[in-house]
Amino acid sequence: MTEAKTASIYSRRNAVQLMIAGAAGLAGSNLLGKPVLARSSPAKPTGRVIVGLGQEPTVFNPLMVHIEVDDGVHFSVFDALFRIDPQGAIQPNLAAEVPDQKNGGISEDGLNWRVRLRDDARWHDGTPFSAEDVKFTLELIMNPNFRSWRTAGHALVRDIKVISPTEISWRMEEAFAPYLSFLTETFIVPKHILEKEANPNSAAFNQAPVGTGPFKWGQRVAGDHLELVANPDYFGEGPHIERLVFKYIPDLTVLYTQFKSGDIDLVGQPYITPDHYAEAKTLPNRVVTLVPRTSFESFYLNLERPQFKELAVREALYAAIDKEAIIQGLYYGVPTPTETFMPRQSFFFNANLPLHQFDVNRAGKMLDQAGWAKGADGIRAKNGVRLSFANSTTSGDPLREQVQQYLQQTFAQLGVEMKISNLPAAVMWGEFWMQSQFDSVIVGSSYLIGADPDVTNRLHSRSVAAKGGRGSNNAQYANPEVDALLDKGARTFDPEARRAIYFQVQELVRRDLPFLPLYQSNAVEGLKKGINGFVPNGNTRTESWNALAWYWSS
């Protein structure tokens, strides 16, 4: 059996941080199939865990376009070459080690990659896993007829070569450091099953997937639940539960009620709503904790609107937002204020950014100094541009709607007119968002893929879709200095060097304020007492990323 090695992107500098975070994880142990501590998990998979979800998992081919709620199934049924742990360290999964420039897995120029694979992994039907499966997977993603999910990063891969059943190599068209992170979300699919399909989009596999993961496909009752069963032949340590059930409960109040009544064992996405947090903590035999997520709520601006072009306006609006009142008064103290788009748990989080201070008077003076004077209607204007704009968010979200009303009043004191214009989610996040048709929006979004700090897609000037760009820089933010740093960051493999680059990016973005950062989300996660091994991982999109380590106290 190949010995899997752990490679960390961390240096000595954050060893303490790792130790603290790691200590929290030890209670659960066995994060990635390797036991960290001896513990009392059952030798044979026993029992069942029911995870309640607010959306229904429906896409089971992990390479096809899907949403985050499908990830819990993918992480359980499949394996990727690498996985990412709660501290952001990349760990081998189907790979035997994480390639880097020191171990020769990645060439000095970052262009040639060589990955050694495990020799003891098998597909659920008994067929041995091999490098051919990895090659097939990477090629399928770029098949123009296949409805693949993200193609970023994969599009740079050339000349994939199977060196042996346990070794594969490829060349990158250009050096792209984030690719390692992208591969933690790229699950490997079986060549021997999918290559026979004329149309992989409609393959039977997509409804009854075969993976190498710790759980095998059980059964799905559409609209209700799906059940996975333990794979006793899994190459790693675990699984310890016999059945893993994902139960679909669309109404969030009902989701919480079923957690209270004991019908579900663990609350998954979208977790317990903030208004139930205080009560949930008092429930007997339940463990309820706040878990940081990588999603950030912000007052997002369209910088091509004349009202927002001037930095003084953006600064004044930011100063007029009472973040603390919003967090404590409206969000029950659940989220954490932030000044950036980087998760505070990240190795790349810059904690030294200027802190926001709520001060309407100062905001007014800033606008006065910049020449935005109040007109007869009480609204400020400059060079014929009124300081008036629309703000949109998804309709039916009462908390965000309250935030809007609160801000509307504060801004009015400042001589700024904010009109509320909300839209259903299916309308809001379509062209209106993607093509920057909004004035401003209140949005909760992630900036990172996995734990990689690269935010080219969100903040690079060539990522403005409204101007023909490839990405989703919907604020239409353009700063040549940031562009250059992002380009450099994507080519840099050394974690320390990258850290310096992304610290600088955060400083510039905090200064330019293309969006007014409000807070980083915290999930209110709840589970029954007696479930062990549950470890939150903000670097993945699912609470079920390590279901293989869960077990019930006997």
């Binding site: 007829n145 009752v221 609209g223 009902v254 299916a426 996040w429 062209e431 993607m434 969100r458």
Partner: protein
Amino acid sequence: MSGFLLNRLSQSIVLLVIVSIIGFTVLNLMPGGPLAQFGLDPGMTQKDVERLAAQLGLNRPLWIQYLDWAWRLLQGDWGHSFRDGSSVLAVIGRHLLATLLLMGTSTALAIAAGTWIGIRGATHRYSLFDYCATVGAMVALSVPTFWFGLIGIYIFTLKLGWVPAGNMYAIGDGSVLDYLHHLILPSLVLSLVHVAIWSRYMRTATLDALSQDFVKTARAKGVSERRILLKHVVGNALLPMITLAGMQLPSILTGALVTETVFTWPGMGRLFLDSLGYSDYPVVMGLLIFSAILVVLGNLIADIVIATVDPRIRLG
């Protein structure tokens, strides 16, 4: 009769075509669409979205998309769900049984209770029972079903622990008793509003029958009130109810949107809500056509039954 059937069938086909065109147009004209849900994914770019739109055929002119869809439908292909790739008929089939179970039970309860309340209300007009039934029906019709659902869960599940909070069965159980246990609360809550409707219609129809000449004649001949009621009134009062039952048929098969959501019942109503939420056009269109066919069929069956049981009605 055959002429009547042919006439009604041809009208129905035209109606279905109109419904499908309006439905397809309205659905596709809504901004956003099925790919909007990926707008917040940090890795999904505009180019990815455009690629997917092309692969799903969403970048074609609307009328071509409609003709393509209609042509396939005529060949028995209702399309495939954008969400999970299953055929639309399979998706509908998966949810139909759950709805049939819930709606069938609640409708049967509603008809039994509603008929009795309606007749008793009419025969004891302006009595305490009649007033209570009237007020009760008003409350049941005015208060949203989800409120009754949540109150029911709070009292009977969280406080008393008598019935489950929802779901069609306990995962891992699935015995007949378990199904029945899970059926109690949602079917009772759902039947409330139907009892109200049914009892009001039944009361009016009974009063109408009671004022007919044949009742007066029977009374003049000295027939007992009980016999008049059973022999002459109830049968005649039930006639207009056949139309009501026909109109109820689609809802028995298309489900109850809110109740199914509150009780996490995997039926057609929730499927419709979910599919709308995800802009899963093929499934939404499938459900639309399915319910349109049911409405047409329900009315047709009601007409035929009425014509059969009531010879006074002549169909041309």
